[in-house]
């Protein structure tokens, strides 16, 4: 019996790979399991290749694990296009469609001896029962239900529901295809045990993905306007809102480009509404001028960047964490734009609400730095209790303030009450040009300096927001583990494993990426001699960003990898072991005293 299994599957674009993964996750979730489903695609719409990695567990986890326990290849060509994303190891059960006619000893798994390899007549079963090879994914679902010992009934219900609009004959064929797979699995038990243990606590869950949850959270936060331009892997945010936001009184505009998208959002915010746009790397480049405008005009807005591989068009369909520098530094001038990063799809709810709250409170654009994995993966989540949500709205001027209204008045907090068109007495000129307190244009160096000071000072309270950091492990641990975004889920698990193995490690995960809270980092580093920053980019962007602002112990190292191959918890633990050993032996550089 297993408490944790990683299943990977690949096939061509039309094989229904992702839909099979989703069905399996949903069925397992109904039975009470936890799951994380990452989807990965080639560049083509049809044909091409697609894959999923699904990790099922009896307990909560936030990453898709390491080497596959079960690998399913509908075609070896498609499977191998995912290379390190679907790693096969010595304990893997490999299942492939026997129609590929590759002799077992010639399966192209270079240097790997899987525990067992099965050629299964998947397409043949699909044709015999469903009449078409399109039922291959349903046959695989039957195989999984049989071998894993879970989710037979919910899967059947799921299949019926998915095909509800088709005629009875098609549903009947799909059910037969599922049974064919299931019976095949019963007749051909695996030598390796792949049965899942019962879940620890079978409770009702949500199944969420980051993009949809971001969109839903925006509605909860009070967002009434969205404008954006389609770009992978962010587009589901616009799609969700264009379906749902009208029901709550909002509007969606599909803009002609990314600039118009954020421009309309700036306008809607000026008009007094909460507004959001979403994009990915290249679109973010286009939006930066408008971010500067919103900063100097002190207008709240939320801008989501669902990061993909970059630069330029890069790898549109796969995750990377390489836009941190861009998020923090891309608009010109002295300006702070708060940047928040979610650690999971589930976390997108809290992060999106927080982004709106910070935007409204400090009258500023706020960037949510999501990524393809957080945005598009599906995972089980605890039901969200929206009655507990804390919503902040921008401070509008009261009657007295409107008697002689001064839009950009210097206040102690740096925040000045903000009016909007339609509000009598609140009339003012907003501008991208530097202005004085009432809003009139100025070229005075002194006024510019004072306004800069006001616009930077207002964010000071953010630097004390410990709740925007995950801090775990013994406070006096000499080894630090730091990570962010979707990779933080790997670090969280690595910490647990490291502690079980007796390593003295503590963890810090910033969700507030910028401004960098020097105090929170400095406090964390007090006991630290050595450590590791784990992230999915080439330049170690978080590591370098922290070093700009904080005296980092000299024994800090990086585990920074670009590309879409997952960083695994065990890989992180291995590095932590090496670091611990080096510290014990007093090897490598002596850490500086903090």
């Amino acid at each position: 019996m297993n408490t944790d299994l990683v299943i990977g599957m690949a096939g061509s674009g039309g094989d229904g790979i992702v839909s099979a993964g989703e069905s399996l996750l949903t069925a397992a979730a109904i039975e009470g399991y936890h799951g994380v489903l990452a989807k990965s695609f080639g560049p083509q719409i049809r044909g091409g290749e697609s894959s999923f990695r699904l990790r099922l567990s009896t307990t909560k986890m936030l990453n898709t694990g390491g080497t596959l326990d079960i690998a399913v290849a509908l075609s070896w060509d498609d499977f191998l296009r995912f290379g390190g994303e679907l790693p096969v190891g010595g304990h893997t059960t490999v299942v492939y469609d026997s129609i590929t006619k590759v002799p077992i000893d010639r399966i192209p798994l270079v240097g790997v001896q899987p525990i067992e390899v099965l050629a299964v007549p998947i397409e043949q079963m699909a044709r015999e029962t469903g009449g078409s090879e399109r039922a291959k994914n349903t046959v695989v679902l039957g195989l999984m239900a049989g071998w894993l010992g879970i989710a037979r009934e919910p899967m059947m219900a799921g299949i019926r529901k998915r095909l509800a609009k088709k005629d009875a004959e098609i549903i009947d064929k799909a059910v037969k295809a599922f049974h064919a797979g299931f019976e095949y699995a019963s007749a051909h038990p695996l030598t390796s045990d792949r049965k899942m243990a019962p879940p620890a606590k079978a409770s009702a869950k949500f199944v969420v993905d980051g993009n949809d949850l971001c969109a839903a959270a925006a509605i909860v936060a009070g967002c009434d306007f969205f404008a954006g331009y389609p770009i992978t892997p962010s587009t589901e945010i616009m799609q969700f809102l264009s379906r749902e936001i009208w029901k709550y009184g909002g509007t969606v505009m599909q803009a002609e480009d990314e600039i118009a998208g954020i421009g309309a959002v700036v306008g809607a915010s000026f008009a007094g509404k909460k507004a959001m746009t979403a994009t990915s790397g290249p679109g973010m480049s286009l939006k930066t001028e408008m971010l500067g405008l919103a900063s100097i005009a002190e207008l709240p807005l939320v801008c989501v960047n669902v990061q993909r591989g970059g630069p330029s068009t890069g790898i549109p369909t796969k995750a990377e964490q390489s836009d941190l520098f861009q998020a923090v530094f891309s608009a010109h001038g002295d300006v702070i734009r708060p940047v928040l990063a979610p650690v999971s799809a589930e976390d997108m709810y809290g992060i999106t609400i927080e982004a709106f709250n910070i935007a409204e409170q400090y009258q500023s654009p706020v960037i949510i730095l999501s990524d393809q994995e957080v945005g598009q993966r599906k995972e089980t989540a605890e039901p969200i209790d929206a009655s507990q949500v804390h919503i902040i709205n921008r401070r509008v001027p009261g009657a007295q303030e409107l008697e002689k209204y001064v839009r950009f008045r210097f206040t102690e907090s740096g925040i000045s009450p903000i009016s909007h068109p339609g509000m009598p007495g609140g009339n003012y000129l907003a501008s991208g040009i530097e202005h004085n307190e009432p809003g009139a244009p100025t070229a005075s160096g002194e006024m510019h300096s004072r306004m800069n000071e006001k616009r930077l000072r207002k964010f000071r309270p953010l630097l004390d927001r410990r709740d925007l950091f995950i801090i775990d492990g013994p406070p006096d641990a000499p080894i630090a583990l730091i990570s962010w975004g979707s990779v933080a889920g790997v670090a969280i698990e690595a910490l647990q494993i490291a502690q079980q193995q007796g390593l003295k490690v503590k963890l810090l995960v910033p969700k507030l990426m910028y401004p960098v809270s020097e105090a929170i980092y400095a406090d964390f580093f007090l006991s630290v001699k050595r450590g590791l920053v784990v992230e999915q980019n080439h330049q170690a962007q978080l590591f370098r960003l922290i070093r700009m602002f904080v005296d980092v112990p000299s024994g800090m190292q990086t585990l920074a990898k670009s590309g879409s191959n997952p960083i695994t918890p065990l890989e992180v633990v291995d590095r932590l072991k090496q670091i611990t050993l080096a510290l014990q032996q007093g090897k490598d550089r002596e850490p500086s005293e903090v």
């Binding site: 979730a29 009702a204 029901k247 002609e256 118009a260 306008g267 969200i384 209204y405 068109p421 009139a440």
Partner: protein, 298 residues
């Protein structure tokens, strides 16, 4: 910036109520002085209180105009006034939204946005001050500069044909298209007022000469000689083909008045959006209900 005029009855508004205390930075003799006066007059005739007006602009000499009015103003970034104005109008369809800019702002850097503002038919009034030159950056070629024009970026004469703003917007299906000039202030105020009253996207091209980098006194005189009110031609403004024919003479003639006004205006984006919101029951359910979509369905 603030106004005290908000509680007055509508009929009491005069041009003065829309004039702010800010002193224009324009060169003496600039055509834009006349344009802003015409805007004050048009607004007074409409009679909406300044706080219900949002006046958006891009960057350039003419884009300073919002600051010279008592309305809510937004002097944004180069070329992007239209997307911002659309956001304002879609966020609050009850506002009167005006957009001002120059020919470079509207037809060079911002040219891509014009088509889509027209296509969405958001109820905006877009006033372009067309002086065929870049004034604020001191005399470079603009998209409406005539072929052969010698400027600081075309020392041997412009090699490019000019954009024809009137044909451009007619081609994209604008339903209200007019032209004016500060040389005929009352005519200009009239077309601006008509544009504001038109229920949909309205475009007004204003031949507003730049006296510093554009026309000298003699050229100004020559331009005035080209002026001809469309009324004197018995032009049927509901005929879009006739409007296009007249628009083709941009640069040769200076027709003033309404080129095209669609008889039955199309629905606006914001009007349809409002209807859709009501249809889908906006305001009848708590926002948190959207989270129900994530519940597992057995």
């Amino acid at each position: 910036m603030s106004t005290t005029a908000t509680t007055r009855p509508i009929q009491d508004y005069t041009a003065k109520n829309y004039k702010s205390d800010l002193k224009p930075i324009w060169c003496p003799g600039c055509g834009d002085f006349g344009v802003v006066q015409a805007i004050y007059r048009a607004l007074a005739n409409i009679g909406r209180p300044p706080h219900e007006i949002a006046f958006v602009s891009g960057i350039g000499c003419s884009s300073r105009i919002p600051g010279y009015t008592t309305a809510y103003g937004f002097n944004t970034v180069h070329g992007r006034a239209l997307p911002i104005a659309q956001g304002i109008k879609l966020a609050n369809p009850d506002l009167l939204v005006l957009v001002a800019g120059g020919d470079g702002d509207g037809f060079s850097i911002g040219g891509g946005h014009v088509a889509h503002a027209i296509r969405r038919n958001v109820d905006l009034t877009y006033i372009v001050m067309d002086n065929q030159i870049y004034g604020l950056t001191k005399g470079q070629l603009s998209p409406t500069s005539r072929r052969g024009l010698v400027s600081v970026t075309s020392m041997y004469g412009s090699i490019e044909a000019p954009v024809n703003p009137l044909l451009y917007v007619l081609g994209y299906g604008a339903e209200f298209v007019a032209q004016g000039t500060p040389a005929d202030m009352s005519g200009l105020a009239k077309v601006i007022e008509e544009g504001i009253r038109f229920p949909g996207f309205a475009f007004i091209n204003v031949q507003s000469p730049c006296v510093t980098y554009g026309m000298d006194d003699q050229q100004l005189k020559a331009q005035k000689a080209l002026m001809q009110p469309l009324e004197s031609l018995n032009h049927d403004a509901s005929n879009s083909l006739a409007a296009m024919g007249l628009a083709q003479q941009y640069g040769e003639k200076l027709y003033t008045g309404v080129f095209y006004r669609k008889g039955t205006p199309s629905p606006t984006f914001e009007g349809t959006a409002r209807a859709r919101q009501q249809e889908l029951g906006a305001g009848t359910r708590p926002r948190a209900q959207v989270l129900d979509l994530f519940k597992l369905k057995k």
